[in-house]
Symmetry: C2
Subunit: 154 residues, 2 copies
Amino acid sequence: MTSSQAAEALDPMLCFAVYSVERQFGQVYRELLAPWRLSYTQYLALVALWNDDALTVGGLGELLGLDSGTLSPLLKRLEARGLIARRRAAADERVVEVSLTDAGRALQSELADVPGCFGDRTGLANEEYVQLLALAKTLSARMRAQDHPNGKEE
Amino acid sequence: MTSSQAAEALDPMLCFAVYSVERQFGQVYRELLAPWRLSYTQYLALVALWNDDALTVGGLGELLGLDSGTLSPLLKRLEARGLIARRRAAADERVVEVSLTDAGRALQSELADVPGCFGDRTGLANEEYVQLLALAKTLSARMRAQDHPNGKEE
DNA sequence: CGCAATTGAATTGCGTGCAATGATACGGAC
DNA sequence: GTCCGTATCATTGCACGCAATTCAATTGCG
């Protein structure tokens, strides 16, 4: 037993619990995705593209909650590996359109059972899964609304 | 409405929901801690030290789930700012003992209401808070146990 | 049209997070 | 006492994540 007072101080902190779980989730995904040399964030970008292969950098950023400071280098790495293509939009040269290559599309079926493997690794009962998902989404939406008081979605 | 198929693909992913919430928590703490120029992780280290001012680098790492690759530079920054002190243990020169300076200890009362402010910002009902904390802790413990099958705690 | 303001990405700087490696100290076998 | 294995921390390399800045393209206003 570690049983230090410090452990008892961190234990009831919601932020620390979520922070810890998130890092463990990341660890599981890191191992699951290692054969493809994909990071978790790269995987999320691919998930988005698999379901909508007509996204801009800004659109991806809105979906994932990431800005260009994170996405630009990430997408460049995916492009360097031949998984996606980037090109300036004809209508507006400022916009960069991101699309899958055949290699990138092929990963969708290869990685199809990653979420299943993740579910196994967490060992979460279905009820727990539903509860946690609902709480996380509710909280996320509430906090997003607080930071962008004007609900703008064109 | 974004209403792309990609959003619907990310929506039911537990890992993405937790990942999103964690980053929003981090955002709230970043703002709360900005006046003290403390990062969230630095704050966690201080929380641990406030409750047990006799920790080693290894002990801190076990409490926070971080390794020396993260903690060493972090602690050096806190030391450079005069908030903590580090010194080799007399009994075992490999061990580095981390302790608070008076300035570091003084922050405890200054930052006393940060958790309260955080609670306000999340707008979480008490029942939600309890549920989410319980789920996160349960899941975290279960996954930690899976990765360290031998429950060693000296 | 001419020009300021705005927008979309990219870049820069800094602080994590983690794998892998290195350096030093301890401890037991002999 | 010497040597080998282990333990502890530091360092390096890479990839986020985010604030702040820069750059180019577009829009809006006169």
